[in-house]
């Protein structure tokens, strides 16, 4: 007769309870795992709105316990995951279910798990595998007052990213039993100290020759979180420019790093050795991407590219080649800065606060308006541009054309401005904006709605008249008007000027988005 059997006889209660976390998007919700052992046919029943992956846990747990060398008496085991009305997905429930069963049979003391949550995927031999989403679980557990966690060793670093959390990383179920005997080590989450970085990570703007207008547009986009569209012939440096935007964005705040890391943890892309994500994301999905992969979702919802670009840049190269539906899906996230995925079993929300940088050719052959190369007819050009819908273009504040690079620019040897210098201006402009919008839900000019604009931006009489003149001269739309004023505000902020002057407005006009008159000859 083994130990478990005698324990079982001694125990009055065969019921156990412990905690884990279920993820909905990047937010976690504490879930109680209950196990009960009673007489009856030997089987495991699991209830509580379980997804397929969670139901599979039964077989993994059963086999893992068997391979641990423990023999479970022939009893009927009932597992309940409550609250029962939340859909549970993912493989992180293996460990808490196994632990709950072991407690019920008396192999583990229930007191040991007081105020602790468990999460992790089991393999058949009892080892714990790396599991996605540990960071957001630990984060929301801590917020809900659960201050200890037992997680797979491979994810230990994610647990310690949460300040104040006591973390135990275990490699297998066996180690869990040993830990309950007092052999485990609790590590505490450290306060994350932002490391001071010298210089700009990655790619530098000093490598881009020429393209002053485009570079300036990137700077404005970075300063005010404006979406930007680049139009130009092949090989004129559109991709090169976009890749350098993260380098001129301000250093990430620790809250932002946590947010990004949570999303990456859910997606299983967090490098657990590296700790929190340090650099702003740059995501450049290929144009064959499906709508679901772009905005997130799927049967078991996962964050899409737009969420993975949180606080960074989403770059869509060859914008016109994307499927029209895919592009249209971006409209709501661009406005709301988050994406809500609704399924029968519930909603989940993923953040999506990013700068959209898009690049496209001016026509099918790519060389318009250089008529010595381009032989597209006006109709073909219009047809090409019509692939983009008005509502989508309305969400893009800056539009810039890149010109073909001439040899003299490449060979001039002229020193181009460094990313670090641009970044300093951007950071200054961001500070000004943060002060201005203190107490609001947004923090950048790019997010201003027309209603908010009236509150925060006022133009002088001279500027009003000037804008009116331009408005008539270029026959602009109301949307274009708002975009110009928003952009002008950012340009003024970059200069540290409180007032918007006619010079700022003029420059904003230069980057006005594609309008109907854009290609008229």
């Amino acid at each position: 007769m083994d130990k478990g059997f005698w324990l079982l006889l001694e125990r009055s209660s065969m019921f156990s309870k412990l905690y884990t976390i279920a993820l909905l998007g990047v937010e976690g919700c504490p879930v109680c795992v209950e196990a009960d052992v009673s007489d009856g046919l030997p089987q495991i029943t699991m209830v509580g709105t379980l997804g397929a992956q969670v139901r599979e846990a039964r077989d993994r747990v059963w086999t893992a316990i068997k391979n641990l060398g423990l023999r479970l008496p022939a009893k009927r085991i009932t597992i309940n995951l409550s609250p029962a009305d939340i859909r549970k997905e993912g493989t992180a429930f293996d460990l808490p279910i196994a632990a709950a069963i072991l407690i019920s049979f008396g192999y583990l003391p229930e007191a040991f798990f007081q105020g602790t949550f468990l999460a992790g995927e089991l393999s058949l031999n009892g080892e714990l595998c790396r599991t996605n989403g540990i960071l957001p679980m630990a984060f929301s557990a801590y917020k809900n007052g659960i201050k200890r966690c037992i997680i797979p060793k491979a994810n230990k670093k994610e647990g310690t990213m949460v300040q104040g959390m006591e973390v135990m990383g275990i490699g297998s179920l066996k180690e869990l039993l040993e830990a309950a005997d007092g052999q485990g080590v609790w590590e505490s989450g450290e306060l994350y100290e932002p490391e001071v970085q010298n210089g700009v990570p990655g790619l530098n703007f000093s490598e881009v020759h020429g393209q002053q207008a485009a570079k300036r547009a990137m700077e404005i986009a970075a300063a005010g979180m404006h979406n930007v569209l680049m139009i130009g012939p092949p090989g004129s440096g559109k991709t090169m420019l976009a890749k350098r935007i993260p380098g001129i964005l301000p250093e990430l705040l620790s809250g932002e790093r946590m947010e990004i890391s949570k999303i990456y943890s859910v997606a299983g892309l967090l490098d657990t050795e590296e700790g929190l994500i340090k650099e702003r994301p740059f995501r450049a999905p290929h144009h064959t991407i499906t709508p679901t992969a772009l905005v997130g979702g799927g049967r078991i919802p996962k964050p899409g590219e737009i969420s993975l670009a949180e606080y960074g840049v989403l770059f869509l190269d060859e914008l016109t080649e994307f499927h029209k539906d895919t592009i249209e899906m971006l409209r709501q996230p661009l406005e709301e800065h988050e994406v809500m995925i609704s399924r029968v079993n519930g909603n989940c929300k993923y953040p999506a606060d990013f700068i959209l940088a898009a690049a496209m050719n001016p026509c099918a052959c790519g060389y318009y308006p250089d008529r010595s190369v381009c032989t597209c007819t006006q109709r073909q050009i219009h047809k090409y541009l019509d692939k983009l819908s008005r509502p989508f273009l309305d969400r893009i504040d800056l539009c810039v054309e890149t010109e073909p690079i001439r040899y003299s620019q490449l060979s001039s040897g002229k020193r181009e401005e460094d990313s670090a210098a641009i970044r300093r201006r951007v950071e200054k402009a961001r500070r000004i904006q943060r002060e201005r919008y203190a107490g609001e839900t947004f923090y950048c000019n790019g997010e201003l709605t027309p209603q908010m604009m009236d509150r925060y931006i006022c133009l002088g009489e001279k500027e009003q008249n000037y804008l009116e003149k331009i408005f008539r001269q270029l026959s602009l739309s109301a949307r274009a008007y708002h975009k110009i004023v928003k952009t002008a505000r950012t340009i003024a902020d970059l200069e540290g000027s409180g007032e918007i002057t006619t010079v700022h407005l003029s420059e904003a006009v230069c980057y006005r988005s594609l309008d109907h008159k854009f290609w008229n000859q």
């Binding site: 207008a213 008529r371 054309e401 420059e507 230069c510």
Partner: protein, 362 residues
Amino acid sequence: MEEKEYRLWFCSLHKIQLSKKKKLMGYFQKAERIFKAGRKELAQLRILTEEETDFLCSMQEEGAVMQAEKRRKEAGAFFCIPGEREYPYLLSEIADPPFGIFYKGRLPSTETVTIAMVGARACSNYGKEMAYFFARELAKSEVQIVSGLARGIDGFSHGGALYAKGKTYAVLGCGIDVVYPPEHDRMYREILEEGGILTEYPFGMPPYRWNFPPRNRVISGLSNGVFVVEARGKSGSLITADFALEQGRDVFALPGRAGDPLSLGTNQLIKQGAVLADKPEDILEFYQISPKKRNGKKDLLLETQEEMVYANLGLEEKHFNRLVQETGMGTGDLMEILLRLSEKGIVGQTGQYFHKILPKEP
């Protein structure tokens, strides 16, 4: 019934190609005889396919002649045949003049010089500005401008002439009641005010690709000289120039930069002996027309900075970046000046490319 009515009937037969009609006319000489020709005779000629012969025979009835006349009246078009007073004299001189012309408005008169202006549809800004400028200046000196109503150079030539309130004529490669390209609908109506639209194709004929080379021979045939504004190495405009030479017309060409693909054709023409025309006076003097005095160089009254930016612009598009480099000004300041210049109507913009517009003095 008169020959003219039969001719109208014959020209309105839309199922028979122009080249076959020409052969039929060559054989029968008169449309009346075609109308009365027997099926056997037509079959012996082996000009028409069986299907076409059936069609022609089915049309050989009085009703069809009336129908053609009715359709003409409904369209508000006129019809004229060689030998009539309205029929353009210059056109009747060529080897194969159209044996019937549908027209609206007027036909070119013989009293003043007529110049055909032709060029690329996908033209550069240089070509566009020059076409407009030349047409305007020539029209001011009462030269009649003939072109093809197509996109690009054709359109700008008509536009320039219309701006000067001159006479301009469009020769179509489709039926007189078909407006092609559709965006020239307004221009179509404006041309009718002083000038005219003409074609040899029947009503409702779509603008088939193969209609255009025969159309080009009419363009050159109507004119004293053909002015090629912009042409690629292989271009329809060069076909027009070839027709002009065959018909003994003068050929003028606007020079372009060496190596510019859009001027390859025109430079080639100059090499072969075409008259180089880099200002409207070159054409006017060729026909001993004393050019109207242009009111000298109009002072644009520009400020120093505006002057500097304007001086950096040309008829070719220039990207904003290059202007930033060349003027050394800030983006905001430069854009402010460019906006001021475009308000004055002397600078144009395509996306972020800017170019000069030749001053539009009346």
